[in-house]
Amino acid sequence: MSETTTAIQAAYLLGLGDDALIYSHRLGSWLTWAPLLEEDMALANISLDLIGQARAIYTYVGANDGTGRSEDDIAYWRDEREFRNVHLVEQPRGDFGQEMARMLWFSAYQRELYAGLAGSGDAQVRAIAAKAVKEVRYHLDHASQWVVRLGDGTPESRDRMVAAFTWVAPYIAELFQDDAASVAAAEAGVGVLPSSLRAAAEATVAAVLAEATLEQPAVSRWHARGGRDGLHSEPMGYLIAEMQHLPRSHPGAAW
């Protein structure tokens, strides 16, 4: 990015980093609340993987977009409207089935994303993607395992998975929406067009649903949108307030 850095490419990468950070925050809220102790560990591990992805992206953007911001500056000192994550990741945690439905979609999307970015013209983006794609493959596997077991499980778990995929459906289109930043990044050879990832991600999810003996949920009448422009849903404000509280109350605090 160094020589070809443009604000719009930085915006594209920040969107990817914000998806990872905000979802990691939501997954972190499962700690001590997961249905099993083992699952506490699994969700925390996945959350930490995502934080790692966000850190790598933030560090790279901050060092190269001319602002000189640190990863912490980017995570803790931007306001809600400056975050470019999709609505899917900012929704509060529901039941465990909802989390697995969300994780399945998000990791199916991320796997295609990072596989695409592994061919980026930007060496640093390639390196970040090469590391992340291995992590995301595991996240996808974890969600798939649970969706199959819960979908094809007891009547109660099946009902909950059906409800979960209905809940998550309106948030999916936004993942694959091209916006000015992603179009510019793709044209510059740095990024990939979100719309180009859709077919493969959908096929991944469809295969898991089939194995779980679940049907595709009906197409919803409304779709979340605007996240990439900084327009978020109500829960985002609370999330930001909680996530940024410490560094803003005690600026410069360190371990």
């Binding site: 249905p35 099993l36 596997d141």
Partner: protein, 95 residues
């Protein structure tokens, strides 16, 4: 789910190529496939291993503490079973 007890699995991890799998602990999981994953998350998150085995705890046949006397004590006074009566030639490095 939390009020149902899931099956217990014993976990064995190979630290690196060439070493044996060593018992590291146990985990709960709905089935063996998930047990491998849970074990990965619990026991190899700090690069402790390159391979994992899980075994349903119920499938392990173990000696009983009650049999300790008849199983192990008789070996106690049979020192001739240790190869300590041979003289090792000088200069022998590997035995």
């Amino acid at each position: 789910m939390s009020d149902t007890t899931l099956p217990l699995f014993e976990v064995f991890v190979r630290a690196k190529r060439g070493l044996s799998h060593v018992h590291v602990g146990s985990i709960h999981a709905p089935d063996a496939t998930m047990a491998v994953r849970n074990a990965r998350d619990l026991y190899t998150r700090r690069q402790e291993g390159v391979s994992i085995w899980v075994v349903a705890a119920s499938d392990i046949v173990a000696s009983s503490p009650d049999e300790k006397d008849s199983f192990f004590d008789p070996a106690g006074d049979k020192i001739y079973r240790h190869p300590t009566f041979y003289t090792v030639p000088e200069g022998l490095e590997y035995l």
